[in-house]
Symmetry: C2
Subunit: 646 residues, 2 copies
């Protein structure tokens, strides 16, 4: 059973709407300039130019990475999402022009990839392990579906189908076809979107094929490696032989532990969960649950970041979560959100939405500055600037967000996620409307036999109040609202039309209210916004003896700008009351937490480095916490999420 | 004022004598086989063969590293020290043969370096920054002095002097001479030894020249780099431009912070302190004190390890002492001992001996297994095997000691230190005999006008008892015994001839007893062997909230073999009494500490990774600590020095 397509959501939210406007007004135009090599001081992208050359409109050589095409596709996809939210004739015209260009660049057989067309015309499908050929195709398909669904225009979708049809003639279990799969998962999830947009079963089957082929031994990478004369594209990595890096070490149904490159892992899981939701394939469902469980119960940071090490941008081992040398790529947390969304489609359980929300409000949001022009790829939970500056074990960690064009994967990924945020608020199963995220919005949906509008007005991020207002076509409508009880809220008060109400049922973390709803009915929810003192699982070495503060969906952190240097000297008491205060002058307006703390007094004498039976003096101090996502906006300074328990 | 040469010490100590025998019976023969490429399975050293080729006794090409000669020199030096302790005709004959070979390999002008002679005959003195030419010369000089002082044979010393005289014609501030210095300090300290052995002032001046030249700008490395056509020997490093790496960023007198490659830094300081002690050069003395102070008060691990990062095997910044990604090279702690010894010669203050002892009993001793055939280069204070195995940030960390021939710097360095340990026990200033280390031994020394023998019998490492017995030539002898009060001992009880005695003076950490000593007089010392709970300076982020245990000179650690996995779950109470117990079956016999502790109970349910307001259950357990130096001898397992304070 899959979610219905009748659901349409428009976001109007005090917290999120400014971000959506930022993506529309700043990020997308900025990215367009980048794709056209017109940002001064930035390395040229070559991306649009590659397509112009492939289309015969310009002479020249391919430029950029082997996967450069995908930047154009991700931009187009974000535009597609954005046009759904708000028409924009000018933007749509730019997109239409790009689509025309793609059409011209597409080969007569449907193939579309500027790297191989321009640089290695005889090299098609010879290096799947390293060259992102199907990965790029996948991003094209995602763009095609988004653009079609928002504008109704089929041209890009047709380009996609021609390409997908061609790929279907190349890959498959039939004799004479290639039994391979891409080194970077993406096409699996994209084919599922294409299948849903077109109803074409071959796309579903092709997605299943790629998933089922993955990890069979002897491995495909090794075979094609020998066949192409052992040429290597990325000599600094060992993608061909390090099978765990791209989760090709085991058939996907046998995988139960998140390993390797985190983005690849979550993209793969997203495809698996989508296939599983559509096919109800028990083996695949079970593998999804196991991988999910390992990922979020043993290898996820409190911010929703994943990928504990820089090497291979990878998972490491259970309960190993270093806060300072973490990779925690923004894209990986975005992929975790994709995975969570597909798991919600498979089985609506609040734990998926809890993780989705955790990653969204913390690790992902941390990835972009409020100016829309600066980005983190790596999202650490602890920075000590002087150590980061001298020790190359921190080479991947930046103290401040970088201009987005330095590398192009995370910024457009944030853009397309925020542009499509309306897809994550609700899902529908028959006559149940599930609310996963409390984001101000208007949802139009067919429930039972009529169109219903659910208007959500949310002060979720500030005081935990959310109001739903139901508008029915007829006088009343019988359906169920399933309202997620966030993991972080100890209680949830429901009022229907102002009167306290106990939900009719609580199941899988959702409170169910089933009624014959009258036009204008309201539900008010109040969550518990008390500041939470969170501890990590005892097996996490790196959080032992420490506390993190959380309020609502936000994980908090301490920064040097508010608390001075040497943040490790702070100790938080377990029993003191925190004060929460809105500061309109701070970081564009945030709720800060003022927590009574103690600070170890640093001995003035510098005679000794080690002390016998010392009892340090502790000074009572006020510590100030800000939401984690807002860190690193006030110059390079210390930051930490986990603070010692006093 | 320098220490007298009348002092001769022979060690006979229950703790150290077995190590000295190990070096004599196992390490030196083993190393000799290695130098002669006759150890099966080991990469050939080429070292002796290089000399044979250079001597015209064999045909072939140079093999090994650019500094391969130094392995032979370090071995010869250790043999020299060992022959001082105990005659060995066979060993001496082998050494004499090698010395003859060196004589044949030496060029007519005195030059001696097989790499340049065989491989780059026109390349002499063209790449001081990278090619260790003067470094190798320095190790030759150290060997020559040690061999001369133990055997009285001059042949090797003469080879050294010819080479030193030649170097003196090449380098210097006079016009036409090279104004340069070596990229790896060593010749500075070695020339000082050669100066003291020969009385030749030119060697002192040449050492001063190299020290004073270092760090002048514009830098020498850059000049010779351009002159040789910008050829680079170690392309993976940037020795020519990264001046801090070899402490060439500032004139040595202006340096006040330990930076760069730790071994280079301490070798440089050793040379500086030796020159300073001889010349009483105030500027140099002050620089030595500042570098010492920064090194041991802000950048030294509790084990006496130095060098907090793998990159460049280097110091990082003040109070930055990660226990898991530490470099902590055995050679660096040995160099710290050299430096401490020279500072003691400069000014006898117990803090130098305290650090010397700390490094010796912990970081250095950890470097060698009791079989004399396995070694650590890196001495971590915390290992978590599963993380080390997967994350390349730990690539330099080994869980078990490696066969010594894997790389050849640390093993012969340990060998020559242990073989010369008798040089570190005492020093003499006029009629004061300073005791720096409590190691069972017999010291013969001229004090005042007669030969005096001081026999030290020590149970220092086991129960903190030390007895001195004075033997005089005449009926009595007037002199002062200055006895170090170790930093770790809260008190020190003195008894002279069995009667409680207050020292006549306590100065700079030494108790002075001045008497007209009668033949047979005894002094008994009793140190406080109570287990100490040590804390790191509050500014050390990596020890915050943790305790280390120390007993006598030994730092302790917990290992998985005694305590099970997940050692971070242990919490030590501050007020409980530890039990100390000798276990003859454990690690060749050690005193273990049984400390009452609590262990966090790991929740059985694996539903969550983060917990709201959790209070973990604590179980009382017995924790077992072993001396740090003995870690890693029972298979790959967890270990940590710092344990949470409960």
């Amino acid at each position: 059973m899959t979610s219905s397509n009748s659901l349409h959501v428009r976001i109007a939210d005090p917290f999120w709407s400014p971000y959506i406007q930022l993506v529309k007004n700043i990020v997308l135009p900025y990215q367009w300039d980048a794709l056209n090599d017109s940002i001064k001081g930035a390395e040229p992208s070559h991306a649009i130019r590659n397509f112009r050359i492939a289309a015969g409109e310009e002479h020249g050589e391919f430029g950029g990475m082997v996967f450069q095409d995908s930047d154009v596709y991700k931009w187009l996809e974000a535009v597609g999402f954005m046009l759904q939210a708000e028409p924009d004739m000018e933007l749509e015209q730019v997109a239409d022009d790009v689509i025309e260009l793609l059409e011209k660049a597409q080969r007569p057989d449907g193939y579309l990839n500027t790297y191989f067309t321009l640089k290695e015309p005889d090299g098609r499908w010879t290096n799947l392990a390293e060259c992102h050929e199907l990965y790029c195709a996948g991003h094209l398909f995602e763009a095609g579906v988004a653009y079609y669904q928002s504008t109704g225009k089929r041209k890009l979708l047709d380009i996609c189908c021609r390409y997908a049809d061609y790929i279907d003639t190349v890959f498959g279990s039939e004799p004479g076809k290639l039994q391979g799969y891409d080194g970077h998962q993406e096409i699996e999830l994209a084919l599922m979107k294409l299948y849903e947009a077109t109803g074409e079963m071959r796309y579903l089957r092709l997605s299943q094929f790629f998933l089922d082929e993955r990890g069979k031994q002897p491995g495909f990478y090794g075979q094609e490696f020998v066949k192409r004369g052992k040429k290597v594209h990325f000599p600094e990595l060992d993608i061909v032989h390090d099978l765990k890096y791209s989760q090709a070490h085991l058939p996907v149904r046998q995988q139960d532990t998140a390993v390797g490159h985190a983005v690849r892992a979550v993209y793969m899981c997203t495809g698996m969960a989508h296939v599983a939701a559509v096919t109800q394939d028990e083996g695949l469902i079970e593998a999804c649950r196991k991988l999910w469980s390992n990922m979020v119960r043993k290898q996820m940071y409190i911010t929703g970041a994943i990928g504990a090490m820089a090497y291979g941008e990878s998972f490491t081992i259970d309960y190993d979560l270093p806060n300072d040398t973490i990779y925690g790529e923004t894209c990986a947390s975005i992929g975790l959100i994709f995975f969570a969304k597909r798991m919600l489609d498979l089985e609506p359980r609040s734990e998926y939405a809890d993780v989705l929300e955790r990653a969204l409000y913390n690790a992902v949001l941390s990835g972009m500055a409020r100016d829309g022009k600066h980005f983190f790829y790596v999202n650490p939970l602890e920075v000590y600037p002087k150590a980061i500056q001298i020790n190359p074990k921190y080479a991947h960690v930046k103290l401040q967000r970088q201009p987005w064009f330095g590398c192009s994967c995370c910024p457009p990924n944030i853009a397309r996620l925020i542009a499509s945020l309306n897809h994550y608020v609700y899902s529908q199963r028959d006559t149940i409307l599930y609310t996963h995220l409390y984001i101000g919005s208007e949802a139009n949906v067919v429930l039972g036999e009529q169109h219903v509008t659910v208007v959500q007005s949310s002060d979720y991020t500030t005081d935990g109040c959310v109001r739903f207002r139901v508008q029915t076509e007829k006088a009343s409508a019988a359906f169920t609202l399933a309202l997620r009880l966030p993991e972080w809220s100890n209680r949830m008060d429901y009022r229907v039309n102002g009167v306290r109400y106990e939900p009719d049922m609580i199941r899988d973390g959702y409170g169910f209210i089933t009624r014959d709803w009258q036009n204008g009915d309201t539900i008010d929810l109040q969550f518990d916004m008390t500041v939470r003192r969170v501890k990590g699982h005892p097996l996490i070495r790196q959080t032992a003896g420490q506390i993190a503060l959380q309020r609502g969906p936000f994980i908090y952190c301490v920064e040097e700008a508010d608390n001075g240097k040497e943040l490790h000297l702070f100790q938080l008491q377990g029993d003191n009351t925190c004060k929460v205060e809105y500061d309109s002058n701070l970081l564009g307006g945030v709720y800060k937490i003022m927590a009574p703390a103690k600070r170890v007094e640093v001995p003035l004498e510098e005679e000794y480095l080690y002390f016998n039976d010392a009892q340090w003096k502790l000074h009572p101090v006020q510590s100030t916490f800000i939401p984690y996502y807002a860190w690193g906006n006030r110059g390079a300074g210390e930051m930490r999420v986990w603070v010692k328990e006093g």
